[in-house]
């Protein structure tokens, strides 16, 4: 009897707990608008204008580009020095997810490696979306070939390597670009992303622009790579394939390639010089890009003798009519101001001064 009562009570208790949980959830979160709840009190009186305001409080939710994740994590932690009550949650998940989340209103800003594609515009229901470029970064072409220190590649050769036409390292096309190097007859193993990514998108865009008749697989966040290529998840996955496979070649974000100590190729840019990836060569590329009035631009295949041709950029997208204007402005002005100083040691490139200034000026459009 005693045991029966316990069990009955347990069942009843479990059900009622669940019911209470449901009711409580509906009533408490029903008051918050779509987006994070908790104290969104923008209690900062000095929050107007573009200057960093001390003591903004609130919680911002964001998702999107994983390229930005390392930067966002550092900035989120660093901003606690000046605004300890400002909490930012950056969820990553991909540029496409970020844009969709922004259109649905569940995040306050979204990181995106590319502008909103035409077919997605309708999802925003006419809302005015502002682009804030926040970070530049080169894509390194990493390789694992003992004895070869400074590999030189150009667009067409890279395209042929990555679509499987060139199969071994001692191919004449590679030899022609690297006359002094001893290239073994090892087979080339292509390391690429198994998940979709802005890195893939921009890398393939580079191939399209630099090798127009040669690269036939198009430009997209995911490519139909040759079936003998090896896929890794995330930059880390591609890194580990390159590291562990002699003869492998892959494309990785520069910041992640540096973290894994991989050898990186110098790539021939549109002016004909072979440039190695670095923060300065990336900034040089961005400085030469044509910036549209809405602050979108592409640094891929930029002109300029010292530009690294496989450089790309990422924006934070904001709804101009966001309900958390003060907090968003405070965080973004940090990213565009002191936050840029964090970039070099993270192995990204800071924005060129002209673009940074335009972005800061655009902050006033957030109402």
């Amino acid at each position: 009897m005693h045991r029966v009562r316990i069990q009955k009570a347990a069942v009843a208790g479990g059900v009622s707990l669940a019911a209470v949980a449901l009711v409580a959830a509906c009533s408490s979160s029903g008051s918050g608008s779509g987006g994070a709840s908790s104290s969104a009190s923008a209690s900062s009186s000095s929050g107007s204008g573009g200057s960093t305001s001390a003591n903004v409080s609130g919680t911002l939710n964001a998702s999107g580009s994983t390229f930005q994740t390392t930067f966002q994590q550092a900035a989120i932690q660093a901003i606690k020095q000046t605004d300890p009550n400002l909490t930012v949650n950056y969820g990553g998940g991909g540029s496409g997810k970020g844009r969709t989340d922004l259109a649905s209103g569940v995040v306050d800003f979204a990181g995106s490696d590319s502008p909103i594609p035409a077919k997605e515009v309708a999802g925003f229901k006419g809302a005015k979306i502002l682009y804030f470029p926040v970070v530049i970064g080169p894509i390194a072409i990493s390789y694992n070939l003992s004895g070869v220190k400074n590999l030189k590649l150009d667009g067409p050769t890279t395209a042929k390597i990555f679509d499987g036409t060139i199969k071994t390292w001692n191919d004449p096309a590679i030899k022609a670009l690297n006359p002094g190097a001893t290239l073994p007859s090892t087979a080339i193993t292509i390391a690429r992303r198994s998940d979709s990514s802005g890195t893939t998108q921009n890398f393939s865009e580079f191939l399209v622009k630099s090798a127009p008749g040669v690269w036939k697989l198009g430009s997209s966040s995911t490519i139909s790579w040759p079936s003998n290529s090896r896929g890794g998840t995330g930059n880390g996955g591609v890194d580990s394939i390159v590291k562990s496979t002699p003869g492998a070649i892959g494309y990785v974000d520069y910041s992640d390639a540096k973290a894994s100590n991989l050898s990186m190729a110098s790539v021939k840019n549109s002016s004909g010089s072979f440039v190695a990836p670095s923060a300065s060569s990336a900034s040089a590329a961005a400085a030469n890009a044509t910036v549209a009035p809405d602050l979108t631009f592409s640094a891929i295949w930029a002109s300029g003798a010292s530009s690294y041709p496989v450089t790309y950029q990422s924006w934070d997208l904001v709804n101009a009519a966001t309900k958390k204007a003060a907090a968003v402005k405070a965080y973004l002005s940090y990213l565009l101001g002191d936050g840029q100083k964090l970039l070099p040691e993270l192995n990204y490139a800071p924005l060129p001064a002209s673009i940074d200034a335009k972005a800061k000026a655009q902050l006033s459009e957030i109402k």
């Binding site: 045991r3 029966v4 069990q7 009955k8 069942v11 479990g14 059900v15 707990l17 669940a18 949980a21 449901l22 409580a24 959830a25 509906c26 408490s28 979160s29 029903g30 918050g32 608008s33 779509g34 987006g35 994070a36 709840s37 908790s38 919680t59 939710n61 998702s63 994740t69 390392t70 994590q73 550092a74 989120i76 932690q77 909490t87 949650n89 950056y90 969820g91 990553g92 998940g93 649905s104 209103g105 569940v106 998840t233 995330g234 930059n235 880390g236 996955g237 890194d239 580990s240 990785v252 992640d256 390639a257 973290a259 894994s260 993270l346």
Partner: protein, 296 residues
């Protein structure tokens, strides 16, 4: 008495040799199955322990989550531990009672009627829904309206657990022999009392088994949480408000990063998750064994 006509003597020797051999072969195969499954278990545990044990410490289990670039000595996975416990706990509270109740309907009240067969069939189908689709589903009906919070994640996990709990519980209930029920009815019990006092306790061992499997799965799921809880770096004890995080999500995010600190944290989180889940399972089985009738 006349001697019995020629009848074959009863053969009391061992069974014919090929039957005996077959029996022995089968026994060997069963032992082999056991040994075979131990191989991946040992290797996985070895990998997790060798990569993750070094980082486990009090700090690791409680400190906030640092940026990926920082080395393993800084920060920890505290928010993820708390998040996993609260979200999986809430999901269990929702799914297990509902699932057992549903199984009771299917087996005791519905018997073999059309509705129960329908529900049972679709519960089976629901076990095949990929966890990411479950996450998307909860995203469209909950997160879009109520934002990122732990409850959304709990709903997604509960949806994953529910079909397993229902089907396994129903099976266990159906294995309770009818004479037990009939004896109880004969004593004048109502159906609910029969179910709660006779059927459920008899089947409780199996029901708990099924429920534990469901909980173990839910504790290790990543994809549904990506859409429903976002991610945080500091502990959020309020499961109803604000974004949250959980160990599997952190494992996945950190392990795909090239920074050694992040990777070490990923494996530490993996070890933590396995240990927490295993302890819960052992405790649950122990408690069940105490309450179960003698003779199992």
């Amino acid at each position: 008495m006349a001697t019995t006509p020629q009848q074959p003597a009863v053969d009391l020797r061992e069974p014919a040799s090929w039957r005996r051999t077959k029996n022995q072969i089968m026994t060997v195969l069963m032992v082999l199955a056991m040994l075979l499954i131990l191989v991946p278990l040992v290797f996985v545990l070895y990998t997790v322990i060798s990569k993750g044990a070094g980082i486990i410490s009090g700090q690791f289990l409680t400190a906030s989550i640092p940026p990926n670039v920082l080395p393993a000595s800084i920060g920890g996975m505290g928010p993820a531990v708390v998040g996993t416990l609260e979200i999986t706990g809430l999901a269990t509270l929702m799914a297990v009672p509902l699932g057992v109740l549903g199984a009771i309907y299917l087996n005791e009240y519905g018997k073999n009627n059309l509705l129960s067969r329908f529900i049972g069939f679709f519960a089976d189908v629901m076990t095949g829904v990929p966890s990411i689709v479950m996450g998307l589903f909860i995203f469209s009906i909950w997160t879009l309206h109520f934002g990122f919070n732990g409850v959304g994640g709990a709903f997604a996990l509960a949806c994953l657990m529910l079909p397993v709990v229902i089907r396994s519980s129903q099976q266990m209930l159906s294995l309770v022999p009818d004479p037990l029920r009939e004896a109880s009815y004969a004593l004048g019990s109502t159906r609910s009392r029969v179910t709660l006092t006779v059927v459920l306790p008899t089947a409780i061992g199996g029901i708990v088994s099924g429920a534990l499997l469901a909980v173990a799965r839910a504790a290790g799921e990543t994809a549904p949480l990506l859409f429903t809880i976002l991610t945080v770096t500091t502990t959020n004890t309020d499961v109803f408000n604000g974004a949250n995080t959980a160990l599997p999500a952190q494992i996945f995010a950190n392990a795909s990063s090239p920074y050694t600190g992040a990777q070490a944290r990923a494996w530490g989180a993996a070890l933590t998750l396995i240990v927490i889940a295993f302890i819960l399972l052992v405790v649950a089985r122990f408690i069940t064994a105490r309450f179960t009738k003698v003779g199992r």
